[in-house]
Symmetry: D2
Subunit: 340 residues, 4 copies
């Protein structure tokens, strides 16, 4: 029996009161497995970049970027379990979104890590119109007149739990705990599996994007506050080493690391092991099947570690229903709930 | 007016007589722009791996892997031009294809570059049935009974011209001259643009795959000999820095480098410059538009350099007809030719 | 006037009571700038690997590796200041040290990040005799009779402060806060400069090595408990972006990142900026001088990020006395203290 | 019995007539093993950058950079042999050397591979005075008055043979065949071991540096023409997978790859195998000994691949005389020759 829990963060709270780490923060609420959690998330700038004249380095505090909603203490979650987060709906709260360039941040600029002596690229802001009814995000060039209507495709850049080893990790970073993976696959209809590292899992999420290219090349998607409903569940005694995703059509493994080939390796090795276990294949047979069937969409090449997704159609994996078919059950429960 | 040229390599020639480099080989024929070139390519093993009992290290000579058909001298091609290769048809010649693991080759093993002290993974061969009529490639597990029918999706792993700076590069390596990019996007219906580095361009291709996952994880796709028709054209005085692709729906840039993020950067930076030029956008406006629209499918993470593709739907680039709309013209010419 | 503080950790405390993060731990003591701090550090295995029959995966808990002594709250330290740690003496506590291979850890093996499907290398333990009087560390081969006497060269692998952004980072990881840099340059006579990120700095250190090769190739140096004296000082209002080191002969910058070229870039860019500031050179002139004079010894290629050192002889930097000449003053104070 | 051969390239030959690849060029002369080869090499700019007003992009042709002297056909050399190149003397021909920054080239700038959208760093030239008698290289700042005298330390950046697989590789690139490794260890007194890939080996070298920092950070050392004498020898039937170096005090392995950690891995894995063979150690015992003794000076982080050196003192490898003690014999022969 699914229950329902609404968590409504204060829209007027100062940025300094939000949470910016996975791990190291006190839970804001406790929820039971089987709960529909309805809440909302701020955009990555805490709403401070609202016009083309607002530049991130002028209107935001670098300590307070990418605020998370949560963490939520999930009852019964213990290390070695798998937290299940099914995205029921992800809806932009506003009729606008924002993207920017940020000095020394992004894939096509030097950064504090890929350090060069060059001057920064220009800092600039783009405001996108969002038309939820039409399903459209409107790009407007700054230096010429081009306007392009792009499909609305809402997602969360950041979804995760507390990391292992007592670490607290910035919400700007992805890893085995999830975090800032920035994959467009994290959309409504997807189920995300996260290994639990601490009691209560301490799940949080944020960083809504009205849409995003693969790789998030300039480092900033179409950022927007989101109204989101997730259905939370828990699988006891089954570990998940790296975040996985499932939709009606695909199973996906993620890896986050630098260099990017290591993110690819992690995601593909996880998929090979997963396919071998699900189809009772030898490792070499699974390696072969994954090699000929896996898609490999890049998620981000801009965060503290880069993220890659291994994505295999279930049609190529006959009979696979991972984690005991929980995705289908949550999809059905979500459908019932939406019709209520 | 398109002409037609058939080049029929000798199927009985010993492997040592084929060509294994881009650059450094004499042309096998001369063709004019506007020519339909009909030919065939051997599989990457020169056909030597034919049963599950054939292991690459036992039946092949490491000096003779990935044979190319060509090179072809394209009349009038000079450094600074762009060679245009439209893939009219790519059809497996045989009713079977082959994949293998190869010791210390592939993404999920150490290699001579990512050198470790570990023992190699097992070497193993899989034979796939190919049903051209049904459009099916049949995977058969070696250690259990699983059989999976996968969609036939023929492509060429290797397409390129002679490199600059007097280099001759192994057909196992991708780069700015094309070469072993191993992207599944190189399928019939696609047009490939290659910058010319030497007189005559010296175009060659090979490495047919009945299908391939993105990343080509184990290093070997479903390898097979191919009957292929390409329509060759030439754009004078327009350079192309890295190989690009166009289909009816997408424009694509490639980059090949290590680490993989540099392949991503090359492909995305090329796409930003290309979009800026085509839409007369400022570089920052193009960076923004590409960031929100680009797909980033990985091509290979196994060759001497890794390859990444930046892929943007033309629907998001209003009015773009790159290279003067040549793709559409070649598509139309190919359609006429197919109906002949 | 230098004061003296002895902090004597309990040798019998269980491993679970030690500290394994930078950030996220309560200070064990408060010290004033100008204090000689005399203490000791456990080896990275908490002393659990003592004979060649002790294997790390059997006798240690993976949650409790690389224990730190500290953290120490330094009076007056605030974000934007520089903590100064001069190593007065580093002396092995025992007459033995230990090194091991660890499955899927080290530079010449696949790891959970550079993930492959290969089997692990063998796990094995080497016990080294340490002769403090003779200054010798004795290597003994396990599979044959070779014995080699190597110079004793004690150092600390781990030195750091709490990181910024509210993070708590595992003591297995290096970064801008210091941490597990694993550079042999961290020996007695060196002064380490660390940027302060939180009030009190929260300095800790550990991971003593009787000696270590550059890169720490197998991932484990000659690990040993250490009796160590450091002289702590504080420079107000002067930030230090990445850990720096100074000896009588050299100034050094460190960088920690993946891939390794980014660690190199960070360290070299920091050195260029440092040299430009110290010698009042333009950035390009400093870039040129550093390019022709810098040594670049690798520190580690095995930890969660890799560390590189940029090392320039002061003889090539006429008149440079960084941070107001504090290194010379601390050296002198340490000499007085040693003679006491 | 050593013979003597002088090869005097024409100083007036146009740049286009020089050789810029390893492989793909006809030999300029044939020499027998045991020959002292006396010759000279141009600087990397063909001598075209002579004053601070000469900028590389204005006075050089990008097709003609890093000219090589050679290739030399070594009698009897066959694939599977090892070519031995002992550097008897390396002496600057001129009283000046030159360094520059080059747009989009170097470690602290974006490049065509690490592609960003930023503007290039400024292009600038520094002229160094060279005083051979005093052993001094004089740095002069361009934007202020600083002058620093640095030790003269002549070396060759480029030393190599024809690569395998029919490749011809640009002299700007290092690899298993040697090439543009840019290690300061390639100085007089050192012996370089190179695996032979083609008949006659086709040895060439160039790219003299009056001195160079480790990493060659800005991409250009103190470039100068060199008068050089090498003593050439050949070891039949003994392969060398990657270039190795030996001096009176050290044995060294090199690796060249991207990312830099792979260059490290190659060099260390080669050293582990080498030490295991020489000392008849198990691989794990050699891994351990190398881990505690190896230095890891970076060579270059600017060329098409990066180069790292593994460097172990012979004092730590009791009794090691690699390649049958040939280094000592060549040293002795060179000493006799110098006294002639």
């Amino acid at each position: 029996m699914a229950s329902f829990f609404e968590y409504a963060p204060d829209p007027d709270a100062p940025a300094s009161q939000l949470v910016y780490t996975f791990g190291g923060a006190e839970p804001v609420a406790q929820i039971a497995p089987g709960t529909f959690l309805s809440t909302w998330t701020r955009d990555c700038f805490n709403g401070a970049v609202r016009t083309v004249d607002d530049l991130p380095t002028q209107v935001t505090d670098p300590r307070y970027l990418n605020p998370q909603t949560g963490p939520f203490y999930v009852e019964g979650a213990e290390p070695g379990d798998t937290l299940v987060v099914h995205f029921v709906s992800i809806t932009p709260r506003e009729s606008w979104g924002v993207s920017t360039t940020v000095p020394f941040f992004g894939a096509l600029t030097s950064t504090p890590r890929t350090a060069t002596l060059q001057a920064a690229l220009g800092e600039r802001t783009w405001i996108y119109g969002i038309d939820r009814a039409a399903g459209v995000v409107r790009y407007e060039a700054r230096d010429s007149d081009l306007v392009v209507e792009l499909p609305l495709d809402p997602m969360h850049g950041t979804v995760g739990v507390a990391p292992p080893l007592g670490e607290a990790r910035s919400s700007l970073t992805p890893g085995s705990w999830g975090g800032n993976m920035d994959t467009p696959e994290m959309r409504a209809g997807a189920t995300c599996y996260l290994g639990v590292n601490v009691e209560g899992a301490l799940f949080s999420f944020g960083d809504g994007h009205a849409r995003q290219g693969e790789g998030e090349t300039c480092g900033v998607a179409v950022e927007t506050a989101m109204d989101t409903v997730v259905l939370i569940d828990l699988i006891k005694g089954v570990p998940t080493p790296w975040p996985r995703l499932e939709t009606d059509e695909y199973v996906m493994s993620t890896g986050s690391a630098r260099p990017l080939e290591d993110a690819f390796r992690i995601s593909q090795a996880d998929m090979v092991g997963w396919v071998a276990a699900e189809l009772q294949l030898s490792i070499l047979d699974a390696y072969q099947l994954v090699s000929q069937t896996s898609l490999a969409p890049i998620a981000n090449v801009v965060d503290n570690d880069y993220t890659c997704v291994a994505k295999v159609a279930k049609a190529h994996l006959p009979g696979v229903e991972p984690y005991g078919g929980i995705h289908a059950r949550l999809r059905a429960a979500a459908a019932v709930w939406k019709r209520r």
